[in-house]
C-alpha cells in the first residue's frame, strides 16, 4: 500500500482528569471503512472531533497524505466531510435551501446532484417544506443527503444512523460500501451492526483506555 490517507500517531486525550485514550496509533488507507467502537462515554465522539479538526485538546500527531496536519489544514478541509451529533439543518429553510447552502460553503459538494440526492434519501416531495416541520429522522436525512452530493474522499460520520428507519439504514450502508469501493475512506461510529457495508476495520477504544 501507498501512503495512508490519514495517519494517527500516538494520540493522547484526557478529559476531566480521566484519560480517554493514549498511545492510539492507526492508519486510514484509501478504500478503508473504519468503525470506531466502544461503550458510551469511551471517547468516540471526542476522537472524531479531533480527527476532523474541531477539537484541539489532544497530544500526538496527525498526518494527511504524509504531511503534518497543521501544514495542510485547508486541503484536508476540502477533502473531508463531517457529520456530527447535530444534523446541521436550519429549521426555517427547506431541504433544498439547506443543501444549496452546503454546496456554497463546501467546494466538494456539487449543487447539480441536489434533486437526485433528495430523491435518494426519500425526501422527494418535501423539497419546499421548512425543515422544522419534518420529523427527527427526516431532518437527519436532509443532512445525510450531502453524502450523495460530495466528491470528498474522506467521510467522518458520528452516529449517522440515529433516528433513521431500517430501510434508510440499509440504503446508507450501501452508499458507504460504494464509496469505499471507489477508493474513498470512511471513519464512523454507530451502535448498529454494519451488515451491508463490505469489509469493516474496527477500532476498539477500550483497548487504548487510560489506566
Amino acid at each position: 500500500m501507498l501512503e495512508p490517507l490519514l495517519k494517527i500517531v500516538d494520540l493522547f486525550c484526557e478529559r476531566d482528569e480521566r484519560i480517554l485514550f493514549e498511545q492510539l496509533s492507526f492508519d486510514v488507507q484509501a478504500g478503508q471503512l473504519v468503525q470506531v467502537v466502544g461503550p458510551n462515554g469511551s471517547g468516540k465522539t471526542t476522537l472524531l472531533r479531533i480527527l476532523s479538526g474541531l477539537s484541539s485538546s489532544y497530544e500526538g500527531e496527525l498526518f494527511w497524505k504524509g504531511d503534518p496536519m497543521a501544514d495542510v489544514r485547508e486541503e484536508f478541509a476540502a477533502s473531508m466531510l463531517y457529520f456530527g451529533h447535530q444534523p446541521g439543518v436550519k429549521g426555517a429553510l427547506t431541504p433544498e435551501e439547506n443543501l444549496r447552502w452546503y454546496a456554497a460553503i463546501h467546494p466538494s459538494i456539487d449543487e447539480r446532484d441536489l434533486h437526485q440526492a433528495l430523491n435518494k434519501v426519500g425526501l422527494a416531495g418535501y423539497e419546499d417544506v421548512p425543515c422544522h416541520s419534518l420529523s427527527a429522522g427526516q431532518n437527519r436525512r436532509v443532512s445525510l443527503a450531502r453524502l450523495y452530493m460530495t466528491h470528498a474522499p474522506l467521510w467522518i460520520l458520528d452516529e449517522p444512523f440515529t433516528a433513521i428507519d431500517k430501510r434508510g439504514v440499509a440504503e446508507k450502508e450501501a452508499l458507504l460500501a460504494q464509496h469505499v469501493e471507489q477508493g474513498g475512506s470512511v471513519i464512523l461510529t454507530t451502535h448498529h451492526d454494519l451488515s451491508h457495508s463490505g469489509p469493516v476495520t474496527r477500532l476498539n477504544l477500550e483497548e487504548y483506555m487510560g489506566t
Binding site: 472531533r49 476532523s52 479538526g53 474541531l54 477539537s55 484541539s56 485538546s57 497524505k65 485547508e74 486541503e75 478541509a77 476540502a78 477533502s79 473531508m80 463531517y82 456530527g84 451529533h85 447535530q86 444534523p87 446541521g88 439543518v89 436550519k90 429549521g91 426555517a92 429553510l93 435551501e97 447552502w101 452546503y102 456554497a104 460553503i105 463546501h106 467546494p107 466538494s108 421548512p130 466528491h151 470528498a152 474522499p153 471507489q182 477508493g183 474513498g184
Partner: protein, 235 residues
C-alpha cells in the same frame, strides 16, 4: 477522486460572501418578526423615558440625543445575541468552521446581514422617535447619519461578543457585559454628532471620527470575530 484546493480568488470570495448574506437575509425575511422586533423594542425603550422621566418638551429635547442613541444601542445589543446562536445550536456553525472557506469572510457577511436587518431599519425609523422626543428638526440629519455609521460599528463590535458567548447556555446577559464597555466611544461620538446638529453647529469632524472607527472595525473585527467563533466551537 482528487483532493480539492480552495480557490481563494476574489471572485470566489465574493460568491461565498453573497451566498452567506443571501441566506441570512432569507432567514430574516422568512421570520418577519426578526425584522420588526428590534424596531419595536427601539420604539418602546424610547417611549419608556417620557413615562419614567418627565413628559415636558424642554426636558425631553435636552435628553433626546442620548436616549435615542442608548435605545438604538440596546436594540442592537439584544438582537446580536442570536447572531451565531441558532447556527451553533443546530450544528451549522460547526460545518462552516470545518469548510475550507475563510471563516473571516463568512463572519463579515453575517455582520453585514445583521446590520441590514437591524441597524439600517433603525436608522430609517429614528426621525420618528426624534420627533416624539422633541428633537429639533435640524438635528434629524445628524441623527440619521450618525446612526447609519454608528450602528454598523456596533454590529461589528457586538459580533465579537456574540462569537465569544455563543457556546454558553445562558449567554443573554453576559454578552452585554462584554460588549457594553466597548460601545462607549460610539455612544459618545454618536450623541456628540446629534447634539452638535441640534444646536446647528457643524458636526462633520465627529462624523469623520465615527467613520474612522468604522474603518478600523471593518479591518480588525472580522479577525477577532472569527477567532472568537473558532474558540467557542472547538472548545
Amino acid at each position: 477522486m482528487t483532493s480539492m484546493h480552495t480557490n481563494t480568488s476574489d471572485e470566489s470570495l465574493w460568491r461565498l460572501f453573497s451566498a452567506v448574506l443571501k441566506r441570512d437575509l432569507l432567514l430574516s425575511f422568512r421570520k418577519k418578526s426578526d425584522l420588526v422586533n428590534p424596531l419595536i423594542f427601539f420604539l418602546m425603550v424610547a417611549t419608556l423615558f417620557p413615562l419614567g422621566v418627565s413628559p415636558q418638551p424642554a426636558v425631553l429635547s435636552e435628553i433626546a440625543p442620548g436616549i435615542v442613541w442608548v435605545a438604538a444601542l440596546l436594540a442592537t445589543l439584544l438582537s446580536l445575541d442570536s447572531l451565531f446562536r441558532s447556527d451553533y445550536e443546530d450544528g451549522t456553525l460547526e460545518q462552516v468552521i470545518l469548510s475550507p472557506q475563510p471563516l473571516m469572510v463568512v463572519c463579515f457577511s453575517k455582520v453585514v446581514g445583521h446590520w441590514m436587518t437591524t441597524g439600517l431599519p433603525l436608522t430609517l425609523m429614528s426621525p420618528l422617535i426624534g420627533m416624539m422626543l422633541f428633537l429639533p428638526a435640524q438635528g434629524m440629519l445628524g441623527l440619521m447619519s450618525s446612526l447609519l455609521v454608528g450602528t454598523f460599528t456596533l454590529s461589528l463590535i457586538g459580533a465579537i461578543g456574540a462569537g465569544l458567548t455563543v457556546g454558553l447556555k445562558r449567554g443573554g446577559v453576559l454578552i452585554s457585559l462584554v460588549v457594553l464597555p466597548l460601545y462607549i466611544p460610539v455612544l459618545i461620538f454618536g450623541t456628540g454628532v446629534v447634539e452638535a446638529a441640534a444646536m446647528g453647529v457643524p458636526y462633520d469632524g465627529f462624523l469623520a471620527i465615527m467613520g474612522a472607527m468604522l474603518a478600523l472595525g471593518c479591518v480588525l473585527a472580522p479577525v477577532a470575530i472569527s477567532a472568537a467563533v473558532k474558540i467557542s466551537v472547538s472548545g
